[in-house]
């Protein structure tokens, strides 16, 4: 609770707000393809990524907010913890198999004195990150997710959510070296497998030491934090009402007031399923390799698409029943002896055993079938785990669910239908960023407590 946002009502009048007029999905791709990865070497310098920051630098941004009295109070609090507070910039990084998730805390309570002290490097990083919504060809800031006027470790600021493909990681490290990031003496808190995989490169290339953190610890810590502070005054969590009825199925906000125990299903490239009993007491129940990476990987092979957005776009237009064999395709109707509805999928891609059907199928149908197959399978495993662990609340997170209402609705339906209403599927707005948030919190935790 120490990080609880205390001044939600503070009006941040002078700050530039980008999220209202920028659509994330239009800002390039989040995924893959090495040719357009983060400032690839074929791209002339200047049109690359972070090296452009000086060109984009705007000098007239106001940093401070609130009344003089409030600023004074803040100042006092700030000073009381100052000696325990890590130096800026504050980053939390989660380097996954497909995506790197980066959260950046932008302080908005910077004093004139601080501003003067602030080194040029730091300033340019802040301005570059906060004044752009896209970085290079593949870096994206999810502006709609920005948490505004958040107080962390006694400082008020905005939390920014940025992602780029893991393939661009070498380029990112290169930039860290070029910009002499190590001179800032900040600790780079990193989680996810990449924290281990790229540790040496950070050290060798950029003279940076990573503070490596366990991804599941970070995931849970970050999730609980974001749920606590809320989403700019709205609940972070939501569910679907009437999940079994496509007509009246609606998204409803809710809170995780008493979140434990919960089954946490993290769908990234692969899937991890955790039973969480308290912030520090959890176990990894199981996992599956059929995750977001499988959806995208198979879609690329089957349809020739290149990005997650493209794949989802196709899937939204397709019809999976042209690809999947349903119970009614085999039994003519319901398989009553076993209580199976005729509309249930009996065999995913089952129609594709026939050459005739293979020759007449559309890419959209294939994309849809892939999405439905992967989603249903995750739902099925999650449901079995929930029953085995005797947990009724199933929380789905991870970037597979980003802009993916087909999957979220399908998961909500699957949980409800197969459990006869016993299980409820819950979702969180910041889907894939909790690991990175958790990493940032670790940075603040290590220095915050006297």
């Amino acid at each position: 609770a120490k990080n609880k946002q205390t001044n939600k009502q503070t009006k941040n009048t002078s700050q530039k707000v980008f999220h209202s007029h920028v659509m994330v999905a239009t800002n390039g791709s989040c995924c893959s393809s090495s040719s357009n990865a983060f400032g690839s070497s074929t791209v002339p310098s200047g049109s690359g990524t972070f090296e452009n920051m000086h060109h984009l630098h705007r000098g007239d941004d106001a940093e401070c907010s609130g009344s003089p009295a409030k600023r004074c109070r803040l100042r006092r609090r700030t000073e009381s913890v100052r000696k325990h507070r890590p130096p800026f910039p504050w980053f939390g990084m989660d380097i996954g198999g497909t995506l790197v998730k980066l959260v950046y805390f932008e302080p908005v309570d910077i004093t004139a004195e601080e501003e003067q002290e602030e080194v040029e490097n730091l300033k340019s990083i802040r301005r570059y990150l906060t004044s752009n919504v896209a970085y290079g060809k593949t870096g994206v800031r999810d502006v709609h997710l920005e948490l505004r006027n958040l107080t962390m470790c006694g400082r008020t600021g905005n939390l920014h959510f940025i992602r780029f493909p893991t393939q661009a990681m070498p380029r990112f490290i290169q930039m860290g070296r070029d910009k002499n990031f190590s001179s800032l003496h900040t600790t780079l808190c990193a989680t996810g497998g990449g924290a281990y995989k790229f540790e040496n490169e950070f050290r060798m290339m950029a003279d940076l030491e990573l503070l490596k953190l366990d991804e599941l610890d970070c995931l849970i810590r970050g999730l609980l934090f974001v749920d606590r502070v809320g989403f700019n005054g709205h609940p972070e969590c939501y569910y679907f009402q009437n999940p079994s009825d496509t007509q009246s199925c609606v998204k409803k906000p809710c809170t995780l007031d008493n979140p434990f125990p919960m089954l946490l299903v993290n769908i990234g490239s692969g899937v991890s399923i955790l039973a969480v009993y308290s912030e520090n007491n959890y176990k990894r129940v199981t996992g599956t390799s059929l995750g977001g990476g499988t959806f995208l990987g198979l879609c690329c092979l089957l349809t020739g698409c290149e990005t997650f957005e493209e794949a989802l776009e196709m899937a939204s237009k397709g019809d999976s029943t042209n690809v999947d064999k349903l119970v009614k395709d085999i039994y003519g109707g319901d398989y009553e002896r076993f209580g199976l509805q005729g509309s249930a999928v009996a065999s995913s891609f089952g129609h594709m055993m026939s050459k005739e059907k293979r020759d007449s199928i559309s890419k959209e149908d294939l994309a849809r079938a892939t999405l439905v197959t992967i989603t249903n399978n995750i739902g099925s495993i999650a449901r079995m785990c929930a029953v085995n662990e005797k947990i009724e609340r199933v929380v789905f997170v991870g970037n597979f669910l980003r802009i993916n209402t087909v999957s979220t609705k399908l998961l909500a339906y699957a949980m409800d239908y197969w459990s006869k209403g016993q299980l409820r599927a819950l979702f969180l707005e910041h889907e894939g960023y909790f690991g990175a948030v958790g990493a940032l919190m670790e940075l603040l935790k290590t220095t915050e407590d006297p």
Partner: protein, 754 residues
């Protein structure tokens, strides 16, 4: 293999006619066939029928000895009689041959009152009209899952070594499970185009507790899309050659190594197809097929484990066309189950998995015959064995034998049950050496049986001097058995664990197949005649000994008698070359003894027990095997001995000596498959000592058998290789007395005289 699923009937018609069915081998005994059942799957048809088989059996009949007991008269007469036994036939072939097969059946079907054919499987409706038109039978559809479960229960109960664990890298890929008398509850994971997970609690109670749409159809359909390879088998072939790591994102691709904190190794798949999310790279068909295979196998394994855990079940059987005899999929499923249960649950597969549906459909149709009240036995002579048509395992044979796979099961005269005195029926393994795992032993014994084949053929012909065509039949027997031995050399696992017992049983089945029911009947008759003449003299000389000397002499008598064994090559060589070799020679081998096997060895021993007031149950084979005495023969012999020995006579009269058949027709003994009557007698009489005699019954089998009462295992090692193996000399003696744990252990071990 022909194309399956051809639509053009003209093409398929020509193709069908191009195969001629060898009637001696396929669709046998059609004349008497009734009760057909058919299971038509996506590519294979499985046909079942019930038939009766006429067999020659050797019957013994006592002469009337009260009138004249002149020397030289035969003790009993042997006659060859026809006996009718029931047999179940199951034949598996590709759907493309359905029409040819139906024509063949129609042409050969003689006298049948059958009006309906039970049908199951997805393809049943597609061929309904064809079947009804060709056979004139009404197609009666049965629920697929019900048939599957019924069939599964049937094979688990009736076929020893039906279930096995698959271990790709072990010395023996197939580890067969001992038959647990209690087969329930279990989980059956049927991987067809989708996956059904069924919990089976009893003969009639089962429930589909879950399933998945990611199954064999997903592998096939998605695989065909990705690799442009049409056929399921070819996809598996591709998969077996691929490297999944080029397509899958492994833990080490993300972590650079293992994820130590969670104990996830670097080679673990983190995201299936995780590396294929790119437009720039081409992936090989093999690699994609492999990745797909892993993805689907792991997923099914994971779900199966979750359901097994939820329902607290430890026996999980896998079946369906995805598994059916494919080492590749058995391996990946096994791997997955091991991974997800940390080795707590083993994936089990079934030898006759492909037949479950048709067996079940057949049983549904035969309910009025109540087939479940009988015990059935796999006929090794008429069954193809595991992987007979697997291209991976046996390309040569596949090319030769076409695409027909067979299973034949004989209805046994008696119901077979466990010996009630087995300490732990579920862990009892009859056989001492598993030749599937012991390659050296396997090589030796296969060689041994092949070497002995000439002698067996000669003996078979000699046993039927009045039948001129016996030589021809004996030749056919030779070919069949030699072929079986060759098959077993290639596929030791074809009929479950390969053992000396199974080699002996297979030989008996093959001999029966060609109407040599008891090649040793005449030899036995002659020997019994001679031995009987010595009986009184032997008993008299025993009675003259002191008590202690007598005990030794009795035991040595049993062991010396045991030397007369036509099954042992070392002995049969001597016996064949020297027709005069008799018990005098055996005496020399064993210094001091008396008698030939049963009459001069066992009977004096029995007599001693009886005279001490002990009740004796004398169990012998129900059917002939080598020169072992059968129950029929023993009845007559005992009668004759009783006529000259008041002790035996009193024993019979007072019901203290019982002659019971064991239910076995083998030189070996499976204590988990004994005649129900014997088990009942053992229980009623509260048997407290079991004596097992002979190399087949006490060494090849039951050497390690643990009983809940005292036991004595006696045998002479009549095989130099085996003697070597056990660390002794040829003609050494095993005399193993055991007391079950908890009771005082008086003596234990083997001893050798001199």
């Amino acid at each position: 293999m022909a194309e399956c699923g051809r639509v053009d009937s003209n093409t398929s018609h020509t193709m069908d006619k191009s195969i001629t069915l060898p009637p001696d081998e396929i669709f046998r005994n059609l004349e008497n066939a009734k009760r057909f059942a058919i299971d038509i799957g996506g590519s294979l048809t499985k046909l079942a029928y019930y038939s009766t088989v006429q067999h020659k059996v050797a019957k013994v009949r006592s002469f009337d000895h009260t009138a004249k007991a002149a020397a030289g008269d035969k003790l009993y007469e042997i006659s060859m009689q026809e006996e009718v036994t029931a047999r179940l036939h199951f034949i598996k072939f590709e759907n493309a041959y359905i029409e040819t097969c139906l024509d063949f059946i129609k042409d050969h079907l003689v006298n049948t009152e059958t009006k309906v054919i039970k049908a199951t499987g997805g393809g049943a409706h597609k061929f309904k009209e064809l079947i009804e038109r060709k056979l004139g039978l009404k197609v009666d559809k049965e629920d697929e899952m019900t048939c599957l479960i019924k069939g599964c229960n049937f094979v688990l109960k009736n076929i020893p070594h039906e279930a096995f664990v698959y271990a790709k890298h072990a010395d023996s890929e197939f580890r067969f499970q001992t038959t647990n008398p209690d087969i329930f509850p279990y989980l059956l994971v049927n991987i067809g185009s989708g996956v059904s997970i069924v919990k089976v609690e009893s003969e009639d109670k089962f429930e589909r507790i879950g399933g998945s749409s990611i199954g064999g159809g997903t592998f096939w359909g998605l695989g065909a899309l990705l690799t442009k390879t049409k056929r399921f088998d070819e996809l598996l072939q591709l998969a077996s050659k691929g490297q999944h790591a080029s397509v899958d994102m492994l833990v080490k691709d993300i972590y650079g190594g293992s994820y130590g904190y969670l104990g996830l190794t670097g080679d673990l798949i983190a995201s299936s197809f995780g590396k294929s999310a790119t437009a720039d790279k081409d992936f090989s068909k093999e690699d994609m097929a492999k990745s797909l295979l892993h993805m689907i196998s792991n997923d099914i394994g994971q779900l199966a484990c979750l359901y097994a855990k939820l329902h607290n079940l430890s026996r999980v059987y896998f079946g369906g066309f995805f598994i059916r005899g494919h080492p590749v999929t058995m391996h990946t499923i096994t791997y997955s189950i091991n991974f997800f249960t940390k080795g707590e649950v083993q994936a089990l597969f079934l030898r006759h998995e492909g037949y479950l549906g048709t067996i079940g459909a057949f049983l549904k149709g035969a309910e009025e015959d109540n087939p479940n009240q009988y015990s059935w036995g796999e006929n090794y002579a008429g069954s193809s064995g595991l992987m007979s048509v697997s291209p991976d395992m046996n390309p040569m044979q596949r090319a030769r034998s076409g695409t027909f796979d067979m299973l034949e099961m004989d209805r046994l005269e008696r119901q077979l049950v466990n010996l009630p005195l087995l300490q732990d029926p579920s862990s009892y393994i009859p056989d001492t050496v598993d030749l599937t795992e012991d390659a050296l032993a396997r090589e030796y014994w296969l060689y041994c049986f092949e070497e002995a084949l000439d002698g067996v053929v000669k003996r078979a012909v000699a046993s039927q001097p009045d039948m001129p065509e016996a030589a021809l039949r004996a030749e056919k027997f030779r070919q069949k058995y030699r072929h079986k031995l060759q098959t077993l050399r290639q596929q030791p696992f074809a009929y479950g664990s390969l053992t000396v017992r199974s080699l002996l049983d297979t030989r008996e089945h093959c001999l029966n197949e060609f109407n040599f029911p008891d090649p040793y009947s005449k030899i036995k008759q002659r020997e019994n005649d001679i031995a009987l003449k010595y009986y009184q003299k032997a008993v008299k000389s025993l009675d003259e000994l002191s008590w202690e000397e007598k005990q030794f002499a009795l035991v040595q008598g049993v062991l010396a008698g045991n030397v007369f064994d036509w099954g042992a090559k070392a002995v049969s060589d001597v016996l064949e070359s020297d027709p005069e070799f008799g018990f005098e020679e055996a005496k020399r081998q064993l210094e001091d003894n008396s008698g030939v096997d049963i009459i001069l060895g066992v009977m004096p021993f029995v007599r001693e027990l009886l005279s001490r007031g002990t009740e004796v149950v004398l169990a012998s084979n129900s059917g002939p095997a080598l020169n072992d005495v059968t129950n029929g023969e023993l009845q007559i012999l005992t009668e004759r001995i009783a006529a000259m020995d008041p002790v035996i006579e009193a024993g019979l009269r007072e019901d203290r000596l019982l002659l019971v058949q064991s239910g076995s027709s083998s030189p070996c003994l499976d204590l988990s498959r004994l005649d129900k009557v014997l088990a009942m007698v053992v229980r009623e009489r509260q048997t407290d000592l079991v004596i097992i005699e002979g190399m087949g019954r006490a060494i090849h089998t039951n050497y390690y058998a643990m009983l809940s009462c005292e036991s004595l295992k006696m045998a002479v090692i009549k095989n130099s290789w085996l003697a070597d193996r056990l660390g002794g000399k040829l003609f050494s003696v095993v005399f193993k007395y055991e007391v079950p744990a908890g009771k005082p252990n008086k003596d234990c071990g083997a001893f050798s005289p001199s």
